[in-house]
């Protein structure tokens, strides 16, 4: 009799953690992680920051070195894509036709960039930023004084803009909505980041409709609907991601804006779990289904999924949090601000580079954007989870310690 095998599809942040957690939870059988990139699981957040700048190298990005996986018996099959899951025979098939049998399966397939399909988008120099290879590609086009146009004023676009400015490029950010970060922050936070980017020399335009990219053998211009033309040596598109759910869908698993998972990260097949950006789960705190794109969610769900696969179920129950680094600004976000009905600004968002935005719903804090204010983030997390009714005047006063709000 052969030992049981758990296959992890996706050598991602979630995939790597899931494999490690399986061992920690006592899985004694084989663990095989299959990934389509040629790298062991790596930290993605530095891609738009220190990896783009060249400060960090691939070895620095790896979450764990190869020897550590070998030590605990985690096998990797890299640079290979799983193309099908046969749930009846419990096998996965790779693109080259090879099949592997599994007893348990974990899907950590992540997300891919949303493509912008317009005229000229196939030109050389029109790029995205999601993987190591994307950044290696971007690096071939950057240099002091070169003109970069960033399409999309979300976090990825803005972090990239900040780093390219630091590297001495001329940077233009073009956003389709009337303000940057519209989907995720209050107008005051958008105003703040608009001001900061302009102070740093970025040309930032909103309400822009992009018609196409023009160039001979590589991109030279970005053309807009109102006739404006922006010269460009490179274009980086950051307009969101799409969860990789096709494999799960083809296998007949429940999929709805992500692979549907229960509180234990199990899919509609009890032998298959899923974790990370590719999943959709019901969040008890916000009382709705969520698909999160964050390192924290990838790591937490990976641990929960591994526990379920080892028959030691633990319930997923985490307050989402995120962070972003641009210039000398660290933004830490606790919770989700969607549906807020009131906003409290603690500090001054129109001057300097330190304040926090507290998002309230029916008198309770549901989210915090803390800008260079780590204590507001740390205590804010607790204020959110304790579901306290807060006094807005005290909350807005940086002189009042947030510690005083908390239940003792």
């Amino acid at each position: 009799m052969t030992e049981p095998c758990c296959i992890v599809v996706g050598a991602s942040h979630a995939g790597g953690q899931l494999a490690v957690s399986l061992r920690q939870q006592g899985w004694e059988g084989r663990i095989l992680v299959i990934g389509d990139e040629p790298f062991l699981p790596y930290n993605r957040p530095p891609l738009s920051k220190t990896f783009l700048s060249g400060e960090k190298h691939i070895e620095d990005l790896l979450i764990r070195p190869e020897a550590q996986y070998e030590k605990v018996g985690i096998d990797f099959l890299l640079g290979q894509r799983v193309t099908a899951i046969d749930r009846n025979n419990k096998t996965v098939t790779l693109s080259k036709g090879e099949t592997f049998a599994y007893d348990k399966l974990a899907l950590t397939t992540g997300a891919r960039v949303r493509p912008l399909a317009i005229a000229g988008s196939e030109l050389k120099g029109v790029l995205y930023l999601r993987d190591i290879s994307d950044v290696e590609h971007i690096r071939q086009f950057i240099g002091k004084g070169k003109k970069a146009v960033i399409v999309g004023g979300g976090y990825i676009g803005l972090e990239t803009a900040a780093m390219l400015r630091k590297l001495g490029l001329q940077v233009t950010v073009l956003e389709a909505a009337e303000r940057i970060l519209k989907r995720v922050t209050a107008p005051q936070v958008s105003e703040f980041y608009t001001r900061v980017h302009r102070e740093e020399g970025v040309q930032l335009e909103t309400g822009v409709e992009i018609q196409g990219f023009v160039g001979q053998d590589r991109v030279e211009q970005v053309q807009c609907g109102d006739g404006t033309v922006y010269p460009a040596d490179l274009v980086i598109i950051g307009i969101g991601v799409i969860p990789n759910t096709e494999l799960a869908q083809a296998a007949g698993l429940a999929v709805e804006n992500g692979i549907k998972v229960n509180d234990f990260c199990q899919t509609s097949d009890p032998d298959i779990t899923a974790a990370g950006d590719c999943t959709n789960h019901f969040n008890g705190f916000y009382q709705r289904n969520l698909r999160l794109e964050s390192v924290q969610n990838a790591m937490e769900q990976a641990k929960v999924a591994a526990a379920a696969l080892c028959d030691k179920p633990i319930q997923y129950n985490a307050l989402p949090w995120f962070w972003s680094e641009q210039y000398d600004i660290k933004l830490q976000i606790a919770g989700l601000s969607t549906d807020y009905d009131d906003l409290v600004i603690r500090g001054d968002h129109s001057d300097g580079r330190k304040f926090s935005a507290f998002y309230l719903k029916q008198g309770r804090v549901i989210a915090v954007d803390a800008i260079n204010s780590p204590q507001d983030f740390m205590f804010g997390k607790q204020i959110i989870t304790q579901k306290l009714l807060v006094d807005k005047v005290s909350l807005s006063d940086p002189g009042v310690s947030l510690k005083d709000f908390l239940k003792k």
Partner: protein, 106 residues
């Protein structure tokens, strides 16, 4: 290679070789030591790699930045010897460093 000793809340002792230039946090993550979570991967953003530096080593470990100090005030059970392990870089001078891990990072 410098050796760092991690003492878990339950008393379990792990003596780990950690390469110079690597953080105390990374040494724990590489070796799958449970008490360190390190959600942000070492960017001083999450405070889930909190540890207590053994008193004998306090003088030898470089001081915390303002950002780290601010975060440390908000962790569970902060002490004077609290540090974020992602902000301590292992050097030959820190060979033998002892850190204790808290019962929980949340």
């Amino acid at each position: 290679m410098p050796v760092v000793t991690y003492i878990s809340h339950d008393g379990a002792i792990n003596e780990i070789e950690v390469a110079s230039g690597t953080s105390v946090m990374q040494g724990a993550v590489d070796n799958m030591i449970d008490g360190i979570v390190a959600e942000c991967g070492g960017s001083c953003s999450c405070a889930t790699c909190h540890c207590y530096v053994d008193e004998a080593w306090l003088d030898k470990v470089p001081a915390a930045s303002e950002m780290e100090k601010d975060m440390l005030e908000c962790v569970l059970e902060p002490e004077d010897n609290s540090r974020l392990s992602c902000q301590i870089t292992v050097t030959d001078e820190l060979d033998g460093l002892v850190v204790k891990l808290p019962p929980s990072q949340f």
